[in-house]
């Protein structure tokens, strides 16, 4: 079971959280301006890397806040967590 660091509550066990998929995919301001292909990409296409992934977590059984995390999908190491709305942190290393 992962230990997830909520930006508001600190390190908490994974079972308190809900996973929300890839982060930083904003809902288009005007969906009607998108063609079907673009809309499908917004809805369904995700990068799914082996390595560092920016993803959404919700501290559902805690403070209730959504936040973002950088997690290495190969090692499960969390490199950073940060409140929703903030820019993805630059960890350096040119990834």
């Amino acid at each position: 079971m992962l230990l997830v660091t909520c930006p508001h509550c600190g390190a908490r066990p994974e079972i308190e959280f809900r996973y929300g998929g890839e982060a930083h995919i904003a809902r288009p301001a005007d969906p009607s301006a998108l063609d079907d292909r673009q809309w499908a990409e917004f809805l369904y296409f995700r990068s799914n890397p082996k390595g560092v992934y920016a993803e959404r977590w919700n501290h559902a059984h805690g403070c209730g806040r959504w936040f973002n995390a950088l997690r290495d999908t190969a090692s499960d190491a969390f490199l950073a967590t940060y409140p929703a709305g903030q820019q993805r942190p630059d960890l350096g290393g040119g990834r």
Partner: protein, 191 residues
């Protein structure tokens, strides 16, 4: 035709806590409770409302006068607590204190049920279903947080120095929460 006000039928019968016992698991009497939502910045700016302190750290609680207590469960969320008879006064006072601001005050006095867990083995029993670290260093007096107990969501409070924990859960989960605590506590009962 106004009838006499209807009586309450709580889902758990309240009982008296016995903190001196090895383990005491006791449903508490009904109380006034409100969910208060207020933007983080506003809480910081005003510090308190109607005697309830609001600017404490997240997952901390603060006692107020007349048996009242505010627990900060998130950046913009507080659980306000008081005696059952104070419900209308609390609502009125908080509404007045926050008038003109963006906030939400919602009565949850019947939504939540509280169970007091006390005694030498209180931590061990709660940790039978709750994954948090309840050591004094990790969960000191004044701690309050939403978390899990088995398959139920709870709010876990330790209001003060006394090693008495208060577990709040939604009404329909209360028999499960009580049942799980009692099942885990059997090992220590009468010990």
């Amino acid at each position: 035709m106004a009838e006499q006000a209807a009586r309450r039928t709580p889902i758990l019968a309240p009982s008296a806590a016995r903190p001196e016992a090895a383990i005491s698991i006791a449903p508490m009497v009904p109380a006034a409770r409100f969910a208060l939502r207020l933007p983080e910045a506003a809480a910081k700016a005003i510090g308190s409302a109607a005697g309830f302190r609001l600017d404490m750290a997240i997952n901390r609680s603060a006692a107020a006068r007349d048996g009242r207590l505010a627990a900060r469960l998130g950046p913009d969320e507080w659980l306000l607590h008081g005696p059952e008879t104070a419900s209308e006064a609390i609502a009125r006072d908080v509404e007045a204190a926050l008038a003109g601001r963006h906030f939400a005050l919602v009565d949850i006095g019947h939504r939540n049920v509280a169970i007091a867990v006390a005694g030498a083995h209180a931590r061990a029993v709660i940790n039978g279903g709750c994954p948090l670290d309840l050591d004094d260093d990790a969960f000191p007096p004044g701690s309050a947080t939403r978390t899990l107990l088995g398959k139920a969501e709870i709010v876990l409070l330790r209001p003060d120095e006394a090693p008495v924990f208060r577990i709040e859960c939604w009404r329909s989960f209360a028999p499960y929460v009580l049942g799980l605590l009692e099942e885990v506590g059997r090992e220590f009962a009468g010990a």
